[in-house]
């Protein structure tokens, strides 16, 4: 048992000893917990709360026009993008990415995250106000 605890705990927390570990770890935990809530709301609301689920174009546009739904979806977009991109970054660090290459990849990932969030917000806006 002792061996297993050590193995599991070591593996699970190894990336906390990376550069700037505390922020990366905390951000991943906080966004992860938020995602548990937001994704549950996202899926349960769209598939169970809406009678028959969101299916037609009209259903989706009417749903997104609700300000609460719009806000929840926007927050979900930010959290899921951050969590996903930070996860990919952690895996790349694990692959041994270091130094200049790591800084370039981190910059590309950050730009990708910003672009993803901006595109998602634009999509939400277009559907809610122009759909």
């Amino acid at each position: 048992m002792a061996t297993r605890t050590e193995e599991d705990f070591t593996e699970a927390t190894r990336w906390r000893r990376r550069p700037r570990p505390t922020f990366a770890w905390l951000a991943q935990v906080v966004s992860g917990v938020l995602l548990l809530v937001l994704l549950t709301v996202h899926m349960v609301a769209q598939h169970f709360v809406v009678e028959g689920g969101l299916r037609t174009y009209a259903d989706v546009v009417a749903w997104i026009r609700n300000p609460v739904v719009f806000a929840v979806e926007a927050l979900l977009l930010v959290c899921v993008t951050w969590h996903g991109i930070a996860g990919v970054h952690a895996i790349l660090l694990d692959l041994g990415l270091r130094g200049r290459a790591e800084r370039i990849v981190a910059r590309v990932l950050l730009d990708l995250a910003v672009a993803t969030i901006l595109y998602g917000l634009w999509l939400l806006y277009m559907l809610a106000f122009r759909g």
Binding site: T10, Y57, V88, D94, L123
Partner: protein, 131 residues
């Protein structure tokens, strides 16, 4: 408890240590599965955004796509998606707890609980989606 996770010389190995199957325990497999499901979910996030972009092309394009996605192969994919989300979510919560020093001695029980919850959520989703 916090013995160094990376043994001396590990960096020279081919590929990341978390993908090395030698001498692994259950918790480590969960750690590997968490990363693999995470990568799958990032791919799905972008697939989801691409699919949702069809909404910009109006009701006909969207409603046609929804018809396509009601085919059994896509419904099976939906069940797989829920299973991946549930595993990543519940196991991620376990990793967050253990990594924060909470319930470290109960990590195996937490893994079993996560497994049971994943099974339940997947079963409910399968019944709702396919049924």
């Amino acid at each position: 408890m916090m013995r160094a996770g990376r043994r001396r010389g590990d960096r020279r190995r081919l590929g990341p240590r978390w993908l090395d199957p030698h001498g692994r325990h259950l918790g480590t497999w969960a750690f590997v599965a968490n990363r693999l499901t995470g990568l799958g979910l990032v791919v799905y996030l972008y697939l989801h955004l691409v699919i949702l972009s069809t909404l910009l092309r109006g009701p006909e394009a969207w409603d046609g796509l929804v018809e396509l996605f009601r085919r059994p192969v896509f419904l099976a994919f939906d069940v797989l998606l829920v299973a991946g989300l549930a595993f990543h979510g519940f196991n991620g919560l376990r990793v967050a707890l253990v990594g924060s020093g909470l319930l470290v001695d109960r990590h195996k029980a937490l893994l079993v609980a996560a497994g049971v919850l994943v099974g339940l959520v997947t079963l409910v989703a399968a019944v709702r989606i396919v049924g």
